[in-house]
Amino acid sequence: MSETKRTTAYTEYHPRWYRKDVSTWWWLGRWPYLKFILREISSVFVAWSVVVLLLQLRSLSRGPQAYADFEKWLRNPLILLLNLITLFFVVFHAVTWFNLAPSAMVVRFRGKRVPAFLIMSANYAAWAAISLVVVWFLVRS
């Protein structure tokens, strides 16, 4: 970062670089840009999910009445709507994350690179397995 600052400063030997101003809304112009920003924004909804989890933990440790209030809060239409949007974004995060996984991790087996679709499907399989385990622990009646 300090590198950039130094090179953009005016010196006798090197004129200031010409850089066009980019609009704050540059990412609205094209779908891939918008998708990029939506993907980054998904992190806000990841954080919101942690907030919900912490509220749940707090109410659980305060007793059955507090937990019933928490469950009622979850049924509030506004919170429900927010959580629906959150669900969309966290799924979007998961899908984009797993689709990028083959580029992020290079796995070699017997000197050969494991093909991208194998890494991707391994991730999706793990996702499905973990989700099923969570459902099994929470929904069994």
């Binding site: 920003i37 954080a47 999910s49 942690v50 933990l57 937990y67 995060h93 994350w97 973990i130 622990f137």
Partner: protein, 117 residues
């Protein structure tokens, strides 16, 4: 000489948090955020949840998810503000708020999980 950067550590936390969030948060939200409140499936009773959360392994896992997911948010959101909205003049403030928030949330998660019953 360039000074040692803490960026690799923050990036590693971002990456680990991305994995943790991708694996467990969608199902958590589908159940507690949508399916239980809408009555699609009946949610677990209070006692069942409490006994589940009393298991040390569950609490350890939940702590890891909270910690990593919050640092994932901090890193990604910081760069969204830098690059997306080009708020570069507030660098220090954004840095402080993002990681400060993540540290605060992590401490809170640790406190709640450690003192759980």
């Amino acid at each position: 000489m360039a000074k040692q950067s803490n960026e690799p550590v923050l990036w590693a936390l971002f990456s680990a948090g991305g994995v943790a969030a991708a694996f467990v948060i969608p199902v958590y939200l589908l159940l507690f955020g949508v399916a239980f409140p809408l009555g699609w499936i009946s949610g677990p009773p209070y006692d069942h949840l409490v006994s589940l959360f009393r298991l040390p392994l569950v609490r350890l896992g939940l702590f890891a998810v909270c910690f990593l997911a919050l640092f994932h948010w901090a890193h990604r959101f910081r760069y969204t503000l830098y690059d997306g909205l080009q708020i570069k003049h507030l660098n220090e403030l954004i840095f402080f708020c993002c990681y400060g928030g993540a540290v605060f949330g992590t401490v809170l998660a640790g406190y709640l999980l450690w003192n759980f019953k």
